[in-house]
Symmetry: C2
Amino acid sequence: MELNDRKKRILQAVVSDYIETAEPVGSRTIARKYVTDLSPATIRNEMADLEEMGYLEQPHSSAGRVPSVMGYRVFVDNIMEKYKLSVMETIRMQEVMNEQAQQFDKLIEKASRVIASVTNYATVAVSTGHKRSKLKAIQIAPVSSKEMVLIIVTFDGTVKNKLIRLKNDVEPEDAVRLSKEMTGRLSGLSLNEISLETINSIKNEFYSLEELVGAIIGFVSEVIGEIDSKQVIVDGGVNLLKFPEYSNIEKAKEILEVLDNKEQLSNMISLPMPTGNKVNILIGDEKNGVKLKDCSLVLCNYEFNGSSGTIGVIGPTRMDYARVVSALEYLCEGMRPQLEGGVTKNDQEKK
Amino acid sequence: MELNDRKKRILQAVVSDYIETAEPVGSRTIARKYVTDLSPATIRNEMADLEEMGYLEQPHSSAGRVPSVMGYRVFVDNIMEKYKLSVMETIRMQEVMNEQAQQFDKLIEKASRVIASVTNYATVAVSTGHKRSKLKAIQIAPVSSKEMVLIIVTFDGTVKNKLIRLKNDVEPEDAVRLSKEMTGRLSGLSLNEISLETINSIKNEFYSLEELVGAIIGFVSEVIGEIDSKQVIVDGGVNLLKFPEYSNIEKAKEILEVLDNKEQLSNMISLPMPTGNKVNILIGDEKNGVKLKDCSLVLCNYEFNGSSGTIGVIGPTRMDYARVVSALEYLCEGMRPQLEGGVTKNDQEKK
DNA sequence: ATTAGCACTCAAAGTAGTTGAGTGCTAATA
DNA sequence: TATTAGCACTCAACTACTTTGAGTGCTAAT
């Protein structure tokens, strides 16, 4: 049997209505609200076909139809129309993009927050590719003779700092010299390219600053660890509670617990880097080993000053895919490298 | 009527059992499990008295008794026995205290996490008193000739940084000079004592570095803003979902939404600085304007290198107060100033 | 090919009836 | 006089049964 035009129209009606109401959709409803040129009986016949083809399901024999995972799939891939973001929505997203464009880590945090609030689902973001981000500078800023702030800056604009207290005095000049030297030797290397030999040679050269050098090395490895164990940001978990699919606590707990488990989330999101920075939609079934039956996940990759990552929206399978996709695309597009005086795509569109 | 010893025993039984089971407690249960030397009938009479006195309530006429807010109050103030923390519990808390003792902001984050996981309720922490924390140093660390990391360090060990990009080149020497000068002039001042005049005089003196000085001033005011608008940390919200009082979604949503609203939380927690760093227990009724009827809040103040704050546990009124109080007291005690070589109270106890 | 009509299905909502944990009161007991 | 056994009473929670209505599939008419 072929998915002809009429069948498509009816499938679209079922999915759209179900997305809106969360109730099984009957033939009458469709005839009244969507496909007014056909009678319920005809629609019933078509729906029976669609069910046979695997696009629809019936919760029980006298209920309306509900989209199956396959149904959502073709809806998302072939039927769904592009959602046009409202002005308010674009403004809210742009505000964030403009505000804090320098610091990678903060940027993602803000981005997650907007996406959660614009889509009304939950957001998850991880920064991968980070690993490859190269060291730009190591700075030692003396606070007092025994206290230093260590700073590591990478090429993507991530800044990590640590306040340390030393037992021995260190002259500010020495600190400056050391940081210059370390920056010189280590700059351009990716964080995990820094070898023990390099470190040791610095250690030998600055044997008088042994304690400080030790602290720096400790900090560097700490930062490597931190950056490698990708940062996972979650926002908008509570949003999900307003959907009827989570009105029973067990379901709600299930998903909120997943959102609380950064480890698991990271696995779920970061494995399946799909094509370019197109959005990728995972529906229903198990996603990367994490089983969240009735959830969908819309993922989008972003890039920013050489670092990249994935930001995703988690919600019920009955998610407003069109809106979510548009929002994510707009945001990720707007997050492309912001070089000095650079113009992002969204800016251009506005003109 | 007087709250004699026998009544106290029975009240204790009711509260303890209700805390454990979340079910109304009947006279038989008490006679079997707690007050074995009295018959159910006698206990019934006493319970009727306790109800008349306002310490107990009946959900309906043929149910057992449940503690009233007043009942919890006297339980907490006069009846409850101190809970002795298990070794595991103390170890878990100490690990955190020792690990990241230098940086104030990170410390509180970790502390919240442990408390949530040790108590199995939700934790909320704010850092107040921060406002009074004094500026220790302003550092400018050049990354390249056009990029600088600005760093502000306060006396309590808070470090804030920001990566900025300038239009004009700045010589590293100038940056060093400027940061020395600014540290010299501003160090020791609390963040909101920094006056416009001081700022302007620096601006005049370093007119050639106008852009950089401008950026720094912007950053300083940003940091003041950030520190004044207290940082609110929340953890363990999902923990609450396992309690039957939140098995209906509306209730769950209500409390999780409060936990999501940092503004509201901050008001709820930070207003009622009670005596010293003793714990303070708010039961049931409205707390500082936020109405969360069936919740209790156990608060404890901490101090750390001159900054202070409040950490609190939120849970159902039927909370294991004794355990929560002990955990909070232990933790806040352990968080006292960690000066070089200093010994905290908990360390001493161990010996 | 479409549709009106009708019998059929089944979850959800409503209606009793039953059960059992718990109470309060009274009269017997230590 | 304080305690307790005994008993009638209450009421949420559970079960079993009925009703309702939205929705279906099939058939015969258009």
